[in-house]
Each structure stands twice: as structure tokens, then as C-alpha cells.
């Protein structure tokens, strides 16, 4: 069978599958041609528009929607990527570019470092967990929860006496979150505790920090309660979200259920300043209750 025979046979089979006359390619007219395509002219050296500058809550790409106003109202209430329209079965180019840009920002946040001057500028004492760099931090969570002898010494020297409350600022998985929120939040906590007459140790900045590093700080300082402000795993909505993990009697090996957490501290969630004031009150409640975590909530309900 030569090539010509083969294609004749394929055509025959296709005809049997489609008894109706097939539309030739040239005759195809899409029922919905979509908006007119503008040919944007870019020249060498121009910058293309920055897709990350678009406000996603206002970006509405659905063509010929039933009720655009109502859809836009809904969009204002959620950071989810709604109303992104489609090109055939796929995303539009803009949607895809933005998605990849946000994803890249999330990855960058994990790998970026908190500036070296950060601790010094903000009156924090900087220490480092056992991790030697970011790569090791990501692959060895256990190293991110403990300190070598040298750093333990540093903590001992910085935190004098036995404070009731110790605050630890840790980079965690998002340096951007810490740089954006930690100091505003810490200032509000500090004032809140001062107003309640609760003593506070010298606040620390821990590089390559996991939440459990707070327990190690508890081992060294003997503090009654530790509050770790740590960068959350970045997502596609924001790379600047911070959490506060509060642990009563923090010691290495304490159960995760013994922590009380306040998450989503960022400009679109709970603002850092307000979260700080709330955390100060929470700390007072936990000290009265002599326990944090699951026990605290049970007691509140009871």
C-alpha cells in the first residue's frame, strides 16, 4: 500500500465516521469572535506592562457575561481568581502570566533572606539555628528547631533574668512577611503587655527559624511563655502573611496541640498593628489559663 492509498483509506474511514459533509477549514466562522485583537507595538528596550501591578479583584475578563456588575461585586469579596474568562478550554494569556508571576513571587519569598541589618535596625538580637543556609533549612526541619552552643550562649547573654514572656521573630518560609509585618506587630504587643504589667525579655530574631525554635529558646531562657512571629508558607494570594504561635511553658518536645495560633496577619487579613493588640490580650488570657493551645479553647467554651 503506498502513501496515496493510505491517505485515501483514512479519508474513507473518516467519511464513514462523519456521514454529514464536513466543514472545510476555510469556512469556519467562530460564533463568538471575542474582542477585537489589538496589535500592540513594542520596540526594543521597551518594558512590557507589569502584570503583577493589576488589581486581581478588579480584573474581569469574562466576555459577554450575564451580569458583569454582580460578578464584579462578588470579586471584591474574595482574592480567588474568579472571572478570568477563557480562550477555548484554556486560560487567557494574561491569567496565565499573572499566575506564574505570583507563583514565582511565592518561591522567591521562600528563598530570599531577611536583610542582614534587619535585627540591628529594629533593636532585636540575631541568632541562627543549626541550619547553615536556606537549602539546609528547607531539607532539615529538625535543624531549624535547635541552636548550637554558640547561639545558645548568645541567647543567654541577650535575655537576662527569667522573663515571663519571650518574643521570637523568625524568618520561617517568608522573609517578605517578616519585613512587612513583624515590627508593627511587635510594637503593638510590647505596648499591650506593658499596659498589663507583664514583663518581656529582649526580643530575638532567629534566622532559619521553624516554630519549634521557640521551644529551644524556652529551654535556654526558662521563660513562661514564648510567642513566635514567623513567616507563613507563601501562597498565591500574598507572600507577606505572618503567623503568631504562642506556647505556654515552651520546652523542646512540647506537643503541637499546646500552641495557640493567630494566622493571616497581613494587610489583606488582620493588619499587623491590630493583630499585635489582640495577641497581647491573648497572652494575658493564656497566662491566666496557665495553658495554651487546644486546652485554652475548650476552657473558653465550657
Amino acid at each position: 500500500m503506498n502513501k496515496q492509498d493510505l491517505s485515501a483509506m483514512v479519508a474513507e474511514i473518516l467519511r464513514e465516521l462523519h456521514p454529514e459533509p464536513m466543514v472545510k477549514g476555510s469556512e469556519y466562522k467562530p460564533s463568538n469572535p471575542g474582542p477585537e485583537q489589538k496589535d500592540e507595538q513594542y520596540h526594543d528596550g521597551d518594558f512590557v506592562p507589569d502584570v503583577t501591578q493589576l488589581n486581581l479583584r478588579k480584573l474581569y475578563l469574562v466576555e459577554q457575561g450575564e451580569n458583569e456588575d454582580a460578578y464584579r461585586k462578588m470579586k471584591e469579596k474574595t482574592p480567588a481568581r474568579l472571572g478570568s474568562g477563557r480562550a477555548g478550554p484554556r486560560y487567557k494569556t494574561l491569567t496565565m502570566l499573572r499566575f506564574r508571576a505570583d507563583h514565582a513571587a511565592a518561591q522567591d519569598a521562600v528563598f530570599s533572606q531577611v536583610r542582614e541589618e534587619f535585627a540591628g535596625e529594629n533593636g532585636l538580637v540575631e541568632v541562627k539555628t543549626r541550619c547553615k543556609d536556606k537549602e539546609e533549612y528547607l531539607t532539615r526541619p529538625d535543624y531549624g528547631r535547635s541552636f548550637d552552643e554558640e547561639n545558645q550562649q548568645k541567647i543567654r547573654k541577650a535575655v537576662t533574668g527569667t522573663p515571663k514572656v519571650q518574643i521570637v521573630v523568625g524568618d520561617g518560609l517568608s522573609s517578605a512577611a517578616i519585613q512587612a509585618n513583624a515590627m508593627d506587630c511587635l510594637a503593638a504587643i510590647t505596648d499591650g503587655l506593658k499596659a498589663r504589667g507583664i514583663s518581656l525579655g529582649q526580643s530575638l530574631f532567629v534566622r532559619y527559624c521553624r516554630v519549634g525554635a521557640g521551644d529551644a529558646v524556652g529551654d535556654v531562657t526558662g521563660c513562661e511563655l514564648v510567642c513566635v512571629l514567623v513567616g507563613e508558607r507563601p501562597g498565591l494570594v500574598t507572600d507577606k502573611s505572618m503567623s503568631a504561635y504562642i506556647t505556654y511553658q515552651p520546652r523542646t518536645g512540647v506537643s503541637e496541640s499546646a500552641r495557640t495560633v493567630v494566622s493571616n496577619i497581613h494587610a489583606q487579613g488582620t493588619p499587623a498593628v491590630e493583630a499585635g493588640a489582640y495577641i497581647a490580650e491573648l497572652i494575658e488570657k493564656i497566662r491566666k489559663n496557665k495553658g495554651s493551645g487546644v486546652g485554652l479553647h475548650l476552657e473558653e467554651k465550657g
Binding site: 515590627m183 495560633v261 493571616n264 488582620t270 499585635g276
Partner: protein, 444 residues
């Protein structure tokens, strides 16, 4: 969470007086691992009084003593005691809403003062309450439709424009079912001043109400923007109100006693008033030409609005110290970043400062606190802010003002100059508040 507020609504209208008792359930909308967010999650009417004729002395004065007896009896029938009531609203509405009447009712109910935090309602607030109580606001929110709600009572028709579940304008005209009344012989026994101006009915003589009803409905059509306005609209417009209806399509929605006469055909003299004639005319008017609906509540819309919708919750992170709840009638002083100094100087101990500004850093919070404390000169400090920062600001103020200073700082409530605010004891971590003379909502 399981917390709730018991709320009483009392509506003393031109024609009828009603009371409802409702339970407002408070729920925490936030997840377990974030800052709590308390909201009124459910509004349930647990008791409705019968619809009473408003006890009057003569033609226009409300009989305060009889109102008091009525409330006492209805509390008993509802099975509630005064101690259980957390919040509530008395509204004196329509033609009855005159100073002497407001004073009479306030005086008569003084021993219930702890229960009720609102004493009078202007026509604008009444429009807001009726639109909410009739379910028109909820209907608009759910469907995204633009709704024009008209509550047609005995003396007035209260109008509210609702767009996407938010009331954007209110108005009031003196159109109601009791502007003319007949005795059992069919002779006129009451003519309101408005009716007197619009028709030549005279006391003790028979009169065909349909003539007046036609005129009144024409005025309603003008108020609803369905007919070009002329001098007639100005004649019936309630003093001190104004309203412009924007272009576009509106679903018209009705409540009030007269709304019951629109769909059902009633005997013309069923109540000895204009109600059935008005209902009939409305049915045949431009108002019912397009899409229209009757409210979920008709004659009870306003009282249910008062009982269920007058209280709202502040944000869930607020600050208060040395405050004796409830606080009543705090006049609102509004300030922004630019005129803060100037506004602070006008504030006396009982005013509440409403500050709107940008999302602050903690340094800015502290500097704001410092300015407020300095201006307060040791007086009580009541502050409301539009951004989510009340707890931080309140805490900073308290730190500077000292242990004994009375400090209240709330957010999550939209206020403007001219409003008055009532604040009652906290539920969850939020404070129930009632914003009075509130005409336009801020959403939510």
C-alpha cells in the same frame, strides 16, 4: 458560640402600635486560627404582638400611660422580663412623630429605659427600617436587583432605594390610608390637614374616597419617578425630606398596612378609611405596571425592622476600659487626617470621634493616640475608627491616659457627623451598637 441578644422593637405609628421580640444570634465567622469575627448570624422573631390601634388622647396626642400598660402586658405575654432584654428600639413614626408625643412616650417608658436605646425615628430611619423589615434589602442583596421599596402606612409612605442590598436614598411623602376616616354611617369623621388641602371633603358629610385616593396615588407615582413631578408632589412631601430617583429599572416593593389591600380586594369601607381605595388605585397605577412584589412582611415591616435590624455589631477587636454600658446618644464628630486637630478641639466628654484615615503603622497609631489623649484633657475618650485598628489604638490611648481613664475605641461601624451612637455591653468580643438618624448604610 451560642451567644444571643434579646431585642425588642416597638413601633408607635399614626394608626397602629405593635411590638415584636426577636433573638439575634451571634456567631464567630472566622476560622479557629485567626482573629475572631463576630457577626449577627441569625435574626429570629420569637413574639409578635397583635396590631393595636395607637391609643390617642384627642386626635393626635399619644396616650403615654396606655402605651406603658400595653408594653407591660405584651412583655408578660411574650414571657420576657425587663432584665432579659439586651437591646431594642422604640420608634414613633409618621404623623405621630411629633415632639410632644416623643416626650410622652419616652416619659412613660422611662422605667424601661435600659431596654430601649432608640427613642424617636425620623422619616428617613423609618424608611430604612421598613425596607429591611419587609425583606426588600435582603431581596436586593440576593438578586442584585435595584429595588424601590414603599411602606404605605396610615399617615405616610416611606420610600427607600436599594441597590445591591445597600440602601442608597430615602424619602417620605404624606400618603397614607388614614388621611380620611368615615364613621359607621359613612360620614367623614376625620380629615387630616394634607387631605384637607387636596380635596373638598367636609366633616359629617359623605364623601367618595376614590377621588382623594386617585390624587394620592398620582403623588406616589411622582415620588417613585414614574410620572413627571409637579406641585402636587411638593404638597404631599414630608417636611425635611427629599429624594431623587435615578434613571433605570427598579423592582417596586410594597409594605405597610395598605400593601395588604393591593392584591386582596377589600370592601371599600372595611376599615372606615382610605386603605382599600388606595390599594385598589395602586393596583391600577403605573406602580404596578412593571415588576412589583409585596414584602415578606406588610403591616409589621417597620416594627420588625426596629426589632431585628436596628442593632449591629462593632468589629471584634475593640478596646474599652472603665466604661459603664450602655452608653447612649453619643453625638458623632467626624474627622480625617487633615482636620483632626480642629475637630478634637470641638469634642466634649460625651462625643464620639469618628476618625477615617489610611492603614497606619504602629508609629502612626501612637501619634494619633497622643494627639487624642492631649486633646481630651482627662475627659472620657470615645473613639471610632474606620480601619481595623481599634484595639491597637485603644490600647495606646489607655497606656498614655493612665489606668483610671475611661476609654472606648471601636471599629467596623460606619458613622458620619450628625449621627448619634448607642453602645451596649459586649457579646463575644464585639459591642452591639445602634446608629441613630442613620439614613444611608455603609454596606454589610
Amino acid at each position: 458560640m451560642g451567644e444571643s441578644l434579646l431585642s425588642v422593637g416597638l413601633d408607635v405609628g399614626t394608626t397602629t402600635t405593635q411590638m415584636v421580640v426577636s433573638r439575634l444570634e451571634i456567631g464567630n465567622r472566622a476560622g479557629s486560627f485567626t482573629v475572631p469575627e463576630y457577626v449577627i448570624s441569625q435574626r429570629q422573631v420569637i413574639y409578635k404582638s397583635p396590631v393595636y390601634f395607637t391609643p390617642l388622647i384627642g386626635e393626635e396626642l399619644v396616650d403615654g400611660e396606655k402605651i406603658k400598660a400595653l408594653v407591660a402586658r405584651e412583655y408578660e405575654r411574650a414571657g420576657i422580663s425587663r432584665e432579659q432584654v439586651d437591646t431594642g428600639a422604640v420608634i414613633i413614626t409618621g404623623e405621630t412623630s411629633r415632639r410632644e408625643n416623643a416626650e410622652a412616650v419616652t416619659r412613660a417608658l422611662s422605667e424601661y429605659a435600659g431596654d430601649f436605646v432608640v427613642a424617636t425615628a425620623g422619616p428617613d430611619l423609618e424608611s430604612v427600617l421598613a425596607a429591611r423589615g419587609a425583606g426588600a434589602v435582603e431581596y436586593s442583596r440576593q438578586t442584585g436587583k435595584r429595588v424601590l421599596h414603599i411602606d404605605i402606612g396610615g399617615g405616610t409612605s416611606n420610600i427607600a432605594l436599594i441597590e445591591d442590598g445597600v440602601i442608597t436614598a430615602t424619602g417620605c411623602v404624606n400618603v397614607g390610608g388614614r388621611l380620611l376616616r368615615w364613621d359607621e354611617r359613612g360620614c367623614i369623621c376625620y380629615i387630616s390637614p394634607v387631605a384637607q388641602r387636596l380635596c373638598d371633603a367636609s366633616l359629617g358629610r359623605p364623601f367618595d374616597g376614590r377621588i382623594l385616593a386617585k390624587t394620592l396615588v398620582k403623588a406616589l407615582e411622582m415620588a417613585a419617578g414614574l410620572r413627571p413631578a409637579d406641585a402636587l408632589l411638593e404638597q404631599v412631601r414630608t417636611k425635611g425630606t427629599s429624594m431623587k430617583i435615578p434613571e433605570g429599572e427598579w423592582v417596586i416593593s410594597f409594605s405597610g398596612g395598605v400593601a395588604d389591600c393591593i392584591e386582596k380586594s377589600m370592601e371599600k369601607d372595611a376599615f372606615g378609611d382610605l386603605g382599600p381605595a388606595l390599594g385598589q388605585e395602586i393596583k391600577n397605577s403605573l406602580l404596578c405596571r412593571g415588576r412589583y412584589r409585596l414584602g415578606q412582611q406588610t403591616i409589621r415591616a417597620t416594627v420588625i425592622g426596629a426589632g431585628c435590624y436596628s442593632a449591629q455589631l462593632s468589629g471584634s477587636t475593640v478596646f474599652f476600659r472603665n466604661i459603664d454600658f450602655p452608653l447612649k446618644n453619643l453625638p458623632v464628630v467626624q474627622a480625617g487626617e487633615e482636620d483632626l486637630g480642629q475637630r478634637l478641639s470641638t469634642l466634649d466628654g460625651d462625643g464620639i470621634l469618628f476618625f477615617s484615615g489610611a492603614e497606619p503603622s504602629y508609629k502612626q497609631v501612637k501619634s494619633l493616640a497622643e494627639r487624642i489623649v492631649k486633646a481630651a484633657e482627662g475627659k472620657r475618650i470615645y473613639v471610632a475608627v474606620d480601619k481595623d485598628m481599634a484595639k491597637a489604638l485603644g490600647q495606646a490611648i489607655a497606656l498614655m491616659a493612665g489606668e483610671d481613664a475611661a476609654v472606648l475605641c471601636i471599629d467596623g461601624v460606619g458613622l458620619k457627623a450628625g449621627d448619634y451612637l448607642d453602645v451596649t455591653a459586649p457579646v463575644g468580643t464585639a459591642l452591639p451598637v445602634i446608629v441613630k438618624t442613620l439614613i444611608f448604610e455603609t454596606g454589610g
